[in-house]
Symmetry: D3
Subunit: 324 residues, 6 copies
C-alpha cells in the first residue's frame, strides 16, 4: 500500500465507497437502535480525521477499533450534520510490520531531507574546530540522524508533528545565528547551542501513529538526556577545551530560561540568553500560525481558544480585512 495510491482523509467524498487503512484515535460503544449498541470511532491519517460508525458485529469489532491500532476499513462515506462520516461494513487490524507510520501522523510541510541539508551546512559554517568536530560527531551518529529526521518537537504544543523537531531546530539556529551577528554574541557557540538545544527530544518522544512520551522522557526529560549525551561525545574527543565545554553545556542547561519552566540554570552568558529567547520566539510564532491555520475554518475572524497561547487569536490578515 504505497503512499501514492492511498485515499487520504482530506480527499474523501460523500457517496463514495472506500477501502483504506486508518489509525484509530478514539473509540466508543454507545446505545443505539432497538436497544442494541453501535460503535463510534475517530479514525485518521496524517491529513486529518473523520468519524467512523459500526452498526454490526460491534462486539467483535470493538477489539479491532482499539485506539492506536491501524485498521483496514471497507465502507461508505456519507454526509451527516454537515460533516463526513464513514459507515463501516468490514474492518480488520493491520499487522504492525505492514504499517507505514508516516502515513498516519502529521508531517512538517518542508521535506526533512532538505532540512537535514540545511542543518549540515550550518555545521559547515562553524569556524571553531572543536565545536565543529563535536557537531559532526553527534549528527553523523546514524541513530541520531534516523531519529532526528522524524522526531516531533512536542506532543501537543508547537511543531507537534513528524520532523517538527528538525524544522524547529533549523529555524532556531538560522535566526539565532543572524542575531548573534547583530548582537555581537559568539556565532559558533550560538549555532552549536541552537543545534543541540532540543536534541534530547529524539529520546523523549516516541512517534507511533500518535506522539507519546517515553519512560525516559518522563523520568529524565530531554534536557538532561541531551546534556548526558553531549558530555559523553565530548569525552571521546581529544583536548576539547574545558571553557568551551562549560559554555556549551551552560547553553543547554539554561535554554528553558527560567526555573519555573524546568530550567536547572538561568542564562548567564549572551549566547545562552540568545538561544533561550530565540527558542521561545520560534515556538510562540509557530504556535500562533498553527492556531491561525488550524481546522480550515479561516472565514472566522477569531480562532478557537488556543491552549498553547492561552488566548484567542485574530485570524484576519492585514490588507484582507474589512474596512468597517
Amino acid at each position: 500500500m504505497s503512499r501514492q495510491q492511498r485515499t487520504w482523509i482530506k480527499d474523501l467524498k460523500a457517496g463514495t465507497e472506500i477501502e483504506e487503512s486508518f489509525v484509530v484515535r478514539t473509540s466508543d460503544v454507545r446505545q443505539g437502535r432497538g436497544g442494541g449498541s453501535y460503535l463510534a470511532a475517530t479514525i485518521g491519517d496524517r491529513t486529518g480525521e473523520v468519524t467512523a460508525l459500526v452498526w454490526q458485529n460491534v462486539e467483535r469489532l470493538r477489539e479491532v477499533f482499539e485506539p492506536g491500532n491501524v485498521v483496514a476499513v471497507i465502507g461508505q462515506v456519507q454526509r451527516y450534520n454537515q460533516q463526513l462520516q464513514v459507515v463501516v461494513r468490514k474492518a480488520e487490524t493491520v499487522a504492525d510490520d505492514q504499517v507505514e507510520h508516516e502515513d498516519f501522523v502529521r508531517s512538517s510541510a518542508v521535506d526533512p531531507e532538505l532540512l537535514w541539508k540545511t542543518l549540515n551546512s550550518l555545521i559547515e559554517g562553524v569556524a571553531d574546530a572543536n565545536l565543529k568536530q563535536l557537531l559532526f560527531r553527534i549528527f553523523s551518529d546514524p541513530e541520531v540522524e534516523r531519529l532526528f529526521k522524524v522526531a516531533p518537537a512536542a506532543r501537543s504544543m508547537h511543531h507537534a508533528f513528524r520532523s517538527g523537531l528538525l524544522e524547529h531546530t533549523v529555524s532556531v539556529t538560522t535566526v539565532a545565528k543572524n542575531l548573534a551577528s547583530h548582537y555581537g554574541a559568539d556565532q559558533d557557540l550560538v549555532v552549536a547551542g541552537a543545534l543541540l538545544h532540543d536534541l534530547g527530544k529524539i529520546w523523549e518522544l516516541e512517534l507511533g501513529p500518535s506522539i507519546e512520551y517515553t519512560d525516559d522522557g518522563r523520568l529524565l526529560g530531554h534536557l538532561p538526556m541531551e546534556v548526558l549525551y553531549v558530555e559523553e561525545r565530548i569525552g571521546e574527543l581529544d583536548k576539547f577545551p574545558a571553557e568551551t565545554r562549560r559554555l556549551l553545556l551552560h547553553i543547554l542547561l539554561a535554554h528553558h530560561g527560567e526555573f519555573e519552566y524546568g530550567s536547572p540554570r538561568r542564562p548567564k552568558t549572551p549566547e545562552a540568553l540568545l538561544v533561550h529567547m530565540v527558542d521561545n520566539l520560534d515556538s510562540k510564532m509557530a504556535g500562533m500560525w498553527e492556531a491561525i491555520t488550524a481546522d480550515g475554518s479561516d472565514d472566522e475572524a477569531w480562532t478557537p481558544y488556543s491552549r498553547i497561547l492561552g488566548r484567542f487569536v485574530y485570524r484576519r490578515r492585514p490588507g484582507g480585512g474589512t474596512e468597517d
Copy 2:
C-alpha cells in the same frame, strides 16, 4: 566651554590641577577633622563619576553642591584608596542656560544623526501607503524629532542613556523586520509597530543632568500616551483603513506582552507577538552587555549582581578563557 575642550572624567589624572564643570549626583556633609564638617559629593559628566571633597566653606558650598546642579570646580585630582578624588578649592553654580546637558549624561555609542537616518530609511521601505504616510507625519513632527533624538529608553534599566530610545527603536525595528520575513508576518505592520512601540517615552522621561519621570509619565505612562498620539495623527489622515488602525493600535497596546508588565492587551496577532518578543529580546541582550561592560573591571570572571537581570553574568568570553 565647548565640548572639544572639556576635561572628561574618564581622562582625569592624579596630581593634576583641574578647572571644569560637572553635574552633582549626590552630596553629603560629614563630621571631619577637629570636629568640623566636610562635604563629600559625587560629581560626573557623561563619561563617568568621581568623588569630590570640600574641606573649606562647607556651610556655603553645601548649597552649591545640591544634587542636580552643574558646578564649575577648581581643585586638584588626587589618588586615594585606589581611586581618584577631586579636592575642591573653589566651586560655583553654572547657570542653567549655560549648561550643555549632553555633556553630563551618558550617550549612545552611535551617532544619533546616523540612527535617525536609518530610522527614516526604515520608513522609506514601508510599502503600505497608509502606514507610510502615518509614519512620515509622526516622525516629521519637529517636536517628535527633537525629543526622539535625545530621549533615553529607560530610567535605570537597559538603554538608560541619551539617545538610548533611538538606538533601541532602530535595533528592534531592524531585527523585527527581518524576522517578519522569516516568519511570514506582515512587514509593514511590524515596522510601523516597532518604530512606534516606545514613542511615548519621549514624554514619559525627562532628560536633565539625570533621567527622571515626568508627571504624565507616572500618571499616564508611555504606552497610553503613544496610543493617544498615534490615534490623533490617524484622525488627521484621509480614509485611514479601520482594520489597519485596529491592527496597529493593537501592537502598541500589547507590546508589553503580559498583563503583569502593564500591558492592557496580550498579543493576538503574529505581528503584535513579534514586536513584543523582539522588544523583550533587544532589551535583555542590551542589559546583559551593559552588565558585562560596566565599570571596566573586566578582569573579573563575573559581573556584580545585575538588578535588571536578577543574576550575576559570566564575563569571560569564548576563546579568551582559561582552559583549566
Copy 3:
C-alpha cells in the same frame, strides 16, 4: 409580536400548546428511536431556558435551529424527568429585522430610564465646571446614550445582562461619591471617573441574542477605547485644565487596580484608588448576590460553585436559618 403578548419561558405550563419565538442557544442531533436521529436544542428568552425536541424533519430543521437564530415554534409543552420540554411540530427562522433583541436577553431588574435619570442627576451635582461640561458632552452624545442604556457590564461575570453597565455605573458612582465625602477625596473627580470608568464597554461588547466581544473589544479593550474617546472630547473643549485632564485620565487608566488585571497604571491618587476599590466592591457584591439568587433552588444551603468568585456561597440568610 409585541412584548405584552409573549408567552415567556418562565410562564410555560405542562400540557399546553405553544406558538411563540425563542432564541436557540445550543443545538445537537442525536441517535434516536429506530436508528433515526432527533434534534435536542436549548431555546430561551430573557426569562429562562427550556429543552426543545424535534422528532421529524430533523435534517431540514437542523439548519433552522442554528445557535443564535430566533425561531418561531409550534409545539406542545410536556413534563419529563421533573423538567419541562417543548416537543416541536413546526419551526421557522424569524427574520432578523422582526426580532426584538430585548426579548431574548436577561435585563436589569431596574428600569433603564430611571437609571439614566439618576446618572444625569449625578452629573448635575458636579461642581467643577470643566468636568460637568465634559460629562454632559459625552452623555448627551446620542450614540453613547443609545448604547449605554442597553449595554451589559460583562459577558459572563457580574452584571452580564441588558442595561447591566448602566446599573453597575450608577451604583459605583453613588457609592464612590458618598465615600469621597467620608474619606476627603475630591467628589467631582470621583464622580466623573466613576461615570466614565467602564464607558468603553459600550463598544467592547455586542448585545445580540447573546453577549459577545467585538473585534475592537478583543484587540483594543474597553479601557483604552474609553481613554481615546474621552481624550477626543476633551480636545473639543476650550481650555480644559491640563491638571484635571491628567487626574481624570489617570483614574480611567488605573481603575483595574493592578497590572495583572490589565491595568496599565496603578492608582496614585486618592480619587483613583477610591474608584478602583468601589468598582471592585460593587462587582464582587453583585457577583455574590447573583450566585445566591441564581437558578431558584434557594432551599439549598450552598450555591453551586461560582466561577466568578472561585468558591461556593452560603445561601442561608441571617434570621431565617435553622438553629441546630
Copy 4:
C-alpha cells in the same frame, strides 16, 4: 510634667534652651573630633523627631540613650544642614512609672472618647437582641475598653498610632453599615463583624513608647485571639443562636479575604465579603492619606516611595495644581 506644659518637638526653635523629656528611637556612637567619639541619637515625642548630639560623657550617656528609654534632656536647639538638632549637655533616664506613654507615640487626630461614644451608638443601633447583648458584654469589659481606647491598628502600616484601632474600627463600621443598606446585606451582622474584626489587636500589639508585637501576637495572631475571645463570651450567653454564631465567627475568620493574607477562610456570605472589602478599602485610603501628609514637605508633587502601597503617590490636589 503635665501635657499642657510640655515643649513638643513640633514647637522647637533654633537658638533656644530646652529642658524636656523625650523617647529615644535610635542611638549610635560615632568617631568624632580629636579621635574621641560622640553619640548621635534620634529622640522624639508624639509630634515628631529630632537628632540629638552628645559630645561629653559619651561612655556613660550611651546607656542612658538606649532605644526605648525616655530621657530628660538639658541642652540647646541648633540649626544645622537645614534641620534642627539638640546638643545635649545633661541627660537622665526617666523612671518608667513617671512616663506618660501617650506623650511619646503619635495619636489619632480624633478624640478617643468621642470615637468610643460613636462606637457605643453603633452598638445601640443593632436590632438583633443576641448580637446587641454580645457586643455590650464585650465592649463593657473594662480591660477591652481600656486597651481598645489606646491600641494602634498596626505596627507600621496604616493607623499605626495611639487609638488608631478605634479610629479604624469606627470608620469601617460606619462605612460598612451604610453599604450593607445599599447592597441588601444584613446590617446587624455587618456592624457586629466590623466592630469585632480587629478586636484581637488589643492583645497583638503593645503600645509602649513604640509599637511592638507581643509574643501572643506573633505566635497566635489577632484573628485567632479575637475568635477565641468572642467564642468564650458567646458561651456565657443564654441560647445564643448557632446560626448567628456561625455567621459572625465566619466574618471574623474571613476578614483578611484571601488565604495569602493569613485568612483561614474566604468570605462566603455577603456580610463577610462586605466587612473584608471595607476593611481593605479603609486601610488603603488611610495609607494613601498618611503618605500624602507625611513629613510636611507638601510642596513636592510626589511622596517618597510608600512601602505600604508599593508605589509613589501624587500629592498635588485637584484645583490646586499648576495648569501647564
Copy 5:
C-alpha cells in the same frame, strides 16, 4: 443484613443473580430502545462501583435511584464491553435506619480499634503532665472517640476514606515523634501537636454514604474549630501553663505551613515546623501510593493523571521493572 453475608462489589461475577443493597452514586435517564428511556446508575459499596441499568418502570425507579440513596436491588450481573453491569429488575429504597454506613464507604486497611490503641499509647508516652492530662481529657471525650474512629481525613485527596483521619494522625504522630528525637525538638509538644493537628476534621466532614463538608466545615474550617475546642478544654484544667498553651496552639495554628494554604500563622518554633512538615510528607506519600494502587490496572507503567499530585506517577517498582 450483616457485613459477613453481603455480596461485595469486588466479588460480583458475570452470569449470576444478585440480591443486595448498594449506595447510588450517580443516576441518569437516557433515550433508549423504541424511543423509550432507560436509567443508567452507578451503584457501589466500600469495595468498588458498578453500572446498573434499569429498562422498566424507569419513571418510578428514577426516584428510587436518587444519588445518596441506599437501594436494595434484584437483578442479574452481565459482562458488557469488558466490564460488569447489573441489569436491575426490582429496586427499593432502604430506610436510613437500616443502613450500615460503613458498608458503603471505603475504609482504612488497618483496624480502627488497633489504631486507637496506638494513639492511646502515644498519649501514654507523653512525659509532660499538663499535656498528658489535656490529651486524655480530649481523647476520652466520648463524642471525640466516636467521631475520630470513623472520620476521613479529606473529601477527595489523601486518606479520603473511613478512619482515614485516625490512620493519618497515628502515622504523622509516630513519624514526628521519632524525628523530634533526631532533630532535638520537644517530643511531648510534637506528639500533642501531631495528635491534635487535624482534630477539627471530625466536625468538618460528614461521613454518610459519601463524604461531604458540614456547614461549620465550610464556614469555620477544621483548624479554627480544633483551636476553639482545645482552648475550651485547657480552660477546664487547673493551672495549665500559659507558655505551654501558647506553644501548643501555635502548632495547630501553623500546621498548614504557609499563608496560601489557609494557615493563619507560619511555623516559628522547631516543633511547629516539624509537625507541619511531617503532616505534609505523610499526605503526599499517601497520595502517591493511592495513585499507584488505584483502579487495579497495575500493569500500566504510568498511573492516570493524579489531580492531587498534579502529575502522572511511575508505577513500575524497583526490581520488578524490565531491563530494556
Copy 6:
C-alpha cells in the same frame, strides 16, 4: 601554628595582648582624627568575628587587609561600646601555603571522620548489589572522599560550614532510610539517592577562608554535575540495570521537588518524593536551629529576622519559658 595553640576569637579577653593570624572578611578606610584616615576591618576565624582597627601605616596596611587574606596580627584587645575590638600595631600577610584553611571557616560540630564512617556503614547496608557496587565506586574515589569530607552544603543557608555537606547527607540518608521502611518505599534506592543527592556540591562550592561558588557551580550547578558524574560511573560498571539507572537518576533530577527550585523533573516515584521531602525537612530544621543558636544572645525571646526562613523565630524553649 597548630590548632591547639591558637587563640580563638571566642576566647579573646579585653585588656590582653594578642599575636595571632585571622582571615580578613571586610575592610574599610575611614576619615579619622586630625583629618587622617584609619582602617576598620572585620577579622575572624572559625569560631567568630571581631572588629580590628588600624591607626598607623594605613596606606600600607590597606593592602595587607584585603578581604580573603589571612593576616598575622599583633595588637591589643579592648572593650568598646559593649563589644571587643582589636587595635592593631603590626600586621603581615600569611603566605597561602602556611594557612590552615580549617582554622578560618566554621565547621560541623560533629567529627567528619565519624560522619564518614556512618556514611560507609549506610552503603554497607544496601542490599541491591548493583547500587552497592556503584556507591562504593563513587565514595572510594579519593577525590570524592577528600572533597566530601570538607565541603559545605551551602554558601549562606543551612549547613554553610566545613563538612556541612557530609553532616546534611548523613542526616538525610538516615532519616530517609527509616521513613522508606515506614512508608513502604524501596530502601536501597532511597539510600543511594539520598547519599548522592547533593554530591555535585563538592564541585559547586569552593572552601577557602570563605565559601564561594566555582565557575562550574554557577554555570552548570550541582544537580547536573552529579548526574553527569554518576552516569559516567554507571557506564564503567558491567550490566548496570537500565531500570535501576533510570530510577536513580530520576531521584537526583527531581530532588529539588518543584520546577521553581531549579528541579528539571518533579518526583514521580515514592522514592524520589521521599528523598526530596526529607532533604527539604532536614534543611529547614537545620536552618531553624541555626537561627535559634546564632549569635549567642539567647536571652532574647525572638531571633533576628532569618533570611533563610523569611521570618522571626521564637527562641524560648518549652519548659524553660516564663509562665505569664
